[in-house]
């Protein structure tokens, strides 16, 4: 009897356990479907991104590619899935059509070094060999401290490029046309001031000199605008020759003598070495130094002091708060001038920017000098930075690698 009861209980337990297990399994199934649904949703969200999207595993094999990417690259999902993204599938080159080597490609940088890339300097080549300028963002996927793949988002920027170029070309032609009238004014005032057209009264001379001065400002401004447009168009060339960098800096200072003389801050130079030979594009290098020194002059009170120093700094040394990663030739221009307000320091290299106190002290500035200097440095592999305190002064650093400026061919 007892055993019968025991058996019955046992069977009941078993049934209950079975039901419980079934319930768990059913719940699990429901959860599983839910999870799968969620995952599918997430993938759908990913694939619906309006830019081209490619996800790879740690070996660079394509795991996911969306419709936009297929369309942009002229490839079908079926032909690329599981293949290495930057290898067989994709042609990637620079503006001049030079193929970018594997180890330099953004996807490879993400997978091998874990480096994220955001750039718009490359071109992607479609299956049919046509190409388009591309803006790329590649990020490594890091999971439990390991790079397990990479995500690339990219888009075709042909249209943006065209607009940019149209703008710059317009400025370039406009600058040329704008320079013709002030050129005529320049020649006319010079003829008049020469006295060959008759003797001038002191007042007439004064006014003519004022005309000449204002006219020259107009020409300078137009030149600066022209330079900006060339730089932005990427249309300028950097042609280097072996030059004595110290001698060039000295000759810039000599050239600026007319504005450094008289009621101006004192100018001192420190050239520990007289000969430092570098591969330089002289006109561009001069433009940078001229801009920095004229700024120091304009933004320092006449009783102040400006020091121009030329030196070489070795790899690993720190100068002006910056650790240098290779050997550099550095020009340091320090002044005891008005300085740059702390809150505006991050805008110093932007186009047309002028600090509030700069506007006050020197009304004639273009707001283009530092922007041009920075652009040239960016294109030629140099560095430019500064330290400044309002009402104490500024120190600007212009550094060219001892290996020289990087050459660049215009387009």
């Amino acid at each position: 009897m007892r055993s019968q009861i025991q058996k019955k209980n046992f069977e009941e337990d078993l049934t209950n356990a079975r039901i419980a297990a079934q319930n768990v399994l059913e719940d699990l199934d429901i959860e599983k479907t839910k999870v799968e649904k969620e995952r599918a949703k997430e993938v759908a969200i990913l694939l619906s991104i309006g830019d081209g999207l490619v996800v790879t595993d740690e070996n660079g094999n394509i795991m996911l590619i969306n419709k936009v990417a297929e369309k942009l690259l002229g490839r079908k999902k079926e032909e690329v899935m599981g293949k290495v993204f930057s290898d067989a599938i994709l042609g990637i080159e620079d503006k001049e059509g030079k193929v970018i080597s594997l180890e330099k490609r953004p996807m490879n940088l993400a997978l091998t070094a874990g480096t994220a890339t955001v750039n718009s300097i490359y071109y992607y080549v479609r299956k049919n060999k046509t190409r388009f300028p591309v803006a790329i963002t590649v990020t490594p996927i890091v999971f439990e401290g390991k790079v397990i793949g990479a995500v690339e988002v990219f888009r075709d920027i042909t249209h943006e490029r065209e607009i940019d170029e149209e703008k710059s070309e317009f400025i370039s032609l406009a600058s040329h046309q704008l320079k013709t009238p002030p050129t005529a004014v320049k020649l006319l005032t010079e003829r008049l001031l020469s006295g060959k057209m008759g003797t001038l009264t002191e007042k007439q001379k004064e006014y003519l000199n004022d005309i000449r001065f204002s006219n020259q400002r107009m020409i300078d401004l137009t030149n600066a605008l022209l330079n900006v447009s060339r730089i932005e168009l990427g249309a300028f060339t950097i042609q280097v020759q072996k030059k004595n960098a110290c001698a060039i800096v000295q000759s810039v200072l000599d050239e600026l003598e007319p504005i450094t003389k008289g009621e101006q801050p004192k100018l001192k130079t420190i050239f520990p070495e007289q000969n430092i030979m570098l591969m330089l594009d002289e006109p561009l290098f001069r433009m940078i130094i001229t801009n920095l020194v004229t700024n120091a002059i304009h933004y320092t009170a006449s009783e102040g002091e400006i020091v121009v120093e030329c030196k070489t700094i070795n790899k690993g040394e720190t100068v002006g708060g910056k650790l240098l990663k290779e050997n550099y030739f550095v020009v340091v221009i320090s002044d005891t001038g008005y300085g740059i307000p702390q809150v505006q320091q991050n805008k110093v290299f932007t186009k047309f920017f002028r600090a509030d106190n700069a506007r006050e002290k020197h009304v004639n500035g273009t707001g283009l000098g530092l922007y041009i200097a920075k652009s040239i440095m960016d294109h030629s592999g140099g560095l430019i930075w500064f330290m400044s305190r309002e009402n104490k002064g500024s120190v600007f650093y212009a550094a060219i690698p001892m290996t020289g400026m990087r050459t660049k061919v215009g387009t």
């Binding site: 040329h176 320079k179 013709t180 002030p182 050129t183 005529a184 320049k186 020649l187 006319l188 010079e190 003829r191 020469s194 060959k196 020409i219 137009t222 030149n223 022209l226 060339r230 300028f236 060339t237 006109p283 215009g410």
Partner: protein, 132 residues
């Protein structure tokens, strides 16, 4: 400069005021000055009058300066050797100008807006004294 055989300079420039300023300054310096306002006219004058030096603008109607220069250089021995100073407000780093200059020596370029009349005259005299 010998009075009865004045040095002849041709100015090819479409901007009337600029053309006039160069011409008057050079005349007052004792040069014999011829002027043209486009490349076509300039080419014709150059071949007929054989000036000792040509001041040449680039952007001009009918025929631009670079075209005129290459036509002149191809024409004959005189055209091949006459010194040319390109006066332009186009930036000299423009690829087109650079290659035209190297191809068409002896030629120089000056950026108009950067140069005073007196400096241009100096440049011309310097070029003329160098008889190569």
């Amino acid at each position: 400069m010998i009075e009865d055989k004045k040095t002849k300079i041709l100015i090819v420039e479409d901007e009337m005021i600029i053309n006039k300023m160069y011409a008057e300054e050079l005349r007052s310096q004792g040069f014999l000055v011829l002027t043209a306002t486009n490349g076509g006219e300039g080419l014709e004058l150059a071949l007929r009058e054989k000036p000792d030096l040509i001041l040449l603008d680039i952007l001009m109607p009918i025929m631009d300066g670079l075209t005129m220069m290459s036509k002149l250089r191809e024409k004959d021995l005189y055209g091949k050797n006459v010194p040319i100073i390109l006066l332009t407000n186009l930036s000299a780093s423009e690829e087109k100008i650079m290659s035209a200059i190297t191809k068409n020596e002896p030629a120089y370029y000056l950026i108009k807006s950067d140069w005073d009349l007196s400096q241009i005259v100096e440049k011309i005299k310097e070029r003329l004294s160098r008889k190569v």
